[in-house]
Amino acid sequence: MADAPLLTVAKVRKTFRQKLRWSERKLGDDYKNVFAVDDVSFALERGETLGIIGESGCGKSTTARILVGLVRPDSGSIIFQGKEILGNRASDVAAYRKEVQIVFQDPYEYLNPRMRLKDIICEPLVINGNIQDNRKTAIAEELLDHVGLNPPNEYLNRFTHELSGGQRQRVAIARALALRPKLLIADEPTSMLDVSVRAGILNLLRSLILEHRMSMIFITHDIATAGYMCDRIAVMYKGRIIEIGKRDEVINTPQHPYTKALVQVCDNLQGFISEREHYILDGEVDSFEQGGHCCFAPGCVCRDGECHCQDQGSQELIEVSPEHFVACAHCH
């Protein structure tokens, strides 16, 4: 593509200090470092949707929180529209915040139960100081209509507890749209919702992206949902991106053993069950030390001596086919 990417994330890293249990403590050292996000890099084009999938605790939500400024990474760089965001230029950061909005996982937690929908939806505009009180109703109505809450004037003065989970998530989306962002981050927006309403939220997000020419980072644990929503898919495991590429390639020809297992479970669970020894080592592998080998090696069916590597244990991402990168010693 001729244009520079909308967003470039390079070598972003975040460690959390975790308090150790009494039995695990050494003298003077009550904490251990846990890599939440480890050396994550990717680029996002304008109008593109990138899916990030992975299990809980793999760092996908932390990545989202870093991108919206809720978590400060230890190192790395985030370049949005040509400007570095992690530098300390406050005006750049403020401008960035208006351009990037997030829809959180839990629609019950992330909307203030004491506020009317009208105020919730207009809050981004109030905070950023560009709305007159008398315009509120009109703007809120337009946004409510936009996210499919019809007729909007019936919803304006309601409170969130009068809404169903799906409706709340629509309100959250309306709020995220209020500032007309260029990048929308959706952090598992449907995982708390009932199966029958999920499709509605997914379709809404798809049409909004097209209509507003937004980019989206869609975070989920379900590879099928990612396939439905995204142009490209990144698979995260233990804080790292282990595979990233075009949707069809990742789904149809997954390269990393972990991705292969994910695809098989989703595509044909029966097949996975009957020959799971081809996909993942059985039993529970929990005792693994960090460093010294590929992060997936303890559960990996094709590990061997090559999986041991020198530094922190990260296999480098290798381009196996155009724009399809895999971090596995066996995939090149």
């Binding site: 909005q101 937690e109 905070i127």
Partner: protein, 285 residues
Amino acid sequence: MKTTNNVFRLFLKGKAGVVGLVILSAFILVAVFAPLISPYPPYERVGTPFEQPSIKHLLGTNDIGQDILSEIIYGTRISLLIGILSAGVSLVIGTIVGMTAGYLGGKVDAVLMRAVDLNLVIPMLPLMILLAAFLGPSFWNIVLVIGILSWASPARVIRSQVLTIKNKGYVEAVEVLGAKPFYTIVKHILPPTMSIIISQLILMSSRAILTEASLSFLGLGDPTQKSWGIILYYAQARSAFLTDAWLWWILPPGILITILVISFAYIGNTLEEIVNPRLRRNVGK
């Protein structure tokens, strides 16, 4: 979520709270309509000094011939006012400290909380006596002394509530929108803390009334404003304890202070049990 309505319903379930509310309302009515109720103007000599109770003066007269019943009725005003005002002062300070410490966290929190600890371990009454004596007796000095020295425990309670709310998703969601801390606190953290602030205000009022009575009794109150404490001070100074006069000069204001403080405590405790997350399981569900 606790709506105001909900708090009110739970409040009516707690009998102590309702009793307290009835008594407090009675006191407030007396304070407001004091000029209508009291038989004489309290600052005028309407009888001979040291009269015993009679039809004319139900509780007798004091050392300069003022009607004690009228004094007590007007005293309700001063005692209530000092109590509520000083509680107000302590709550303003306590809310600011608690909100700042809870919301900002980190070093600010550590410093402020050490100040709170210090404030809590210092023996309060001697310090108040010292400060009141130093500033001199006046209505506003008493309010300030009590207010400035008793913000620590509300600050602590408010801080813990702020800590719970701060971690709610919707506060995070507002931060993403680029909200400044002041906006977040006023718009999203203060409203759900309000019920705790009010319950603290009521509890602090009862303590302030008691403290005011103690200070006044020791002669540190404003002699021109007749609170119940001042009445007691004069009664004691004029040796009411040595004669039968304690029956009508000391006992009535003493009992009234007790009842008022208890009514505040009833209301405050019931409210606190409803709104304080750590005590909540005691009432309802």
